[in-house]
Subunit: 231 residues, 2 copies
């Protein structure tokens, strides 16, 4: 008997931050016996927030049942939070999946699908205070595991997140080899990769720059949370 | 007068390691006043070594003169090393570019185009000993700058590489803000991201697994270096 294929699915969507997805893709595609599906409402090119277009391999209709679903983040999540077909697709897949996962603000989409209630989770630092609206228990960490829910922090945390998952699925030796193959011995040039390290001035500047999109996001989170609440 | 657009071009090719390109893309696309061109022999989807398809925006013919050219790496470079139209395109663009750059084994393609002679450069650790064939001065570092040539190490080194370039082009404050925005405060789960850190046993195992492709690569490097040598 041959081992059945382990099916990994990433949600693609217009306005995603592509590195939220391409980082984990690079790692998880090295799991032997796995197949990756890139899924959006229809197959074909999907443009990221900065323009890079990645080709979705499946639509919501053609996508097979997934063993692991991963929702990346990005400015485009604001619209997903109240997009019923997207939330239905995620809920439907989550029902049978072994792992339900997100990187960056993809966690808020899981929240809007009702999948974070009572669960420990993380997201991009700037949206961290929005997790509680979905009944999540917010945790500040690059990777947070709560049963079959695994969430990663902002953007580049997706690499740490995926190596953690790879070790769980394929063993520690495999994950160590992939870390070496990807030469993942990072040396951030400025040491400003978290609010704690960057200091209050830079954090405040970044928050001011994102004021508009974060305001719209908070409004969408309120709507999505209200839709989940029992009448 | 408006500032002219700073044109950044990435070479796409079949069998590229997409994170070599998508990491730097995520960083450099945040340079104000820049435009990114993804270039291959023809515009349209190009499949990476693990299957992910990214859409090339330009062909060699439609691509405008670039201010910065970046060549990512991956298994597919083996064929590029003796591909005259590719090497001609790179040489042609390099003539007028402010920066000539590579990530991972993309450096060997720059070498085959004759652009590494007498220059300090780096590449993926497993191909590092092939740099000398092109007259380069091999340096073990994640980012190596020699005049207008900037080379990055293997795969994830592209993020450090791009933040370094971003600081040069847009200032240190911008690069610090992008490092925070991408939450680049990495915590590699296993600490095996370089041969030195991984130890000789894991290094030997990885080299054995890549024996065939590295053998073909060494043969292609010999051919490319011979083609560059004066008769």
């Amino acid at each position: 008997m041959t081992e059945p294929t382990f099916r990994i699915g990433f949600l693609l969507f217009p306005g995603m931050t592509q590195l939220d997805m391409t980082g984990p893709y690079e790692v998880l595609s090295r799991l032997p016996g796995s197949a990756i599906h890139l899924v959006w409402k229809e197959a074909g090119p999907v443009a990221s927030d900065r323009g890079l277009a990645i080709v979705a391999t499946d639509s919501f209709v053609t996508c097979p049942p997934l063993d692991l679903i991963c929702v990346p983040g990005g400015p485009g999540i604001n619209e997903l939070l109240t997009d019923a077909p997207v939330l239905d697709f995620i809920r439907h897949q989550a029902w049978g999946a072994r792992y339900i996962t997100s990187v960056c603000t993809g966690a808020l989409v899981l929240g809007a699908a009702g999948l974070l209630y009572g669960k420990r989770a993380t997201t991009h630092w700037m949206s961290h205070d929005l997790l509680a609206a979905f009944g999540a228990v917010p945790v500040k960490a690059r990777v947070v595991t709560d049963g079959r829910l695994i969430t990663g922090g902002g953007v580049t945390a997706g690499i740490d997140f995926a190596l953690t998952i790879l070790a769980e699925l394929g063993g520690r030796e495999l994950a160590q080899a992939v870390e070496l193959g990807l030469e993942y011995d990072p040396q951030p040039p400025f040491g400003t990769g978290s609010p704690e390290r960057a200091g209050p001035e830079l954090e405040a500047r970044m928050r001011a720059l994102s004021d508009r999109i974060q305001g719209l996001r908070a409004e969408q989170v309120r709507r999505a949370a209200a839709a989940l609440a029992p009448a």
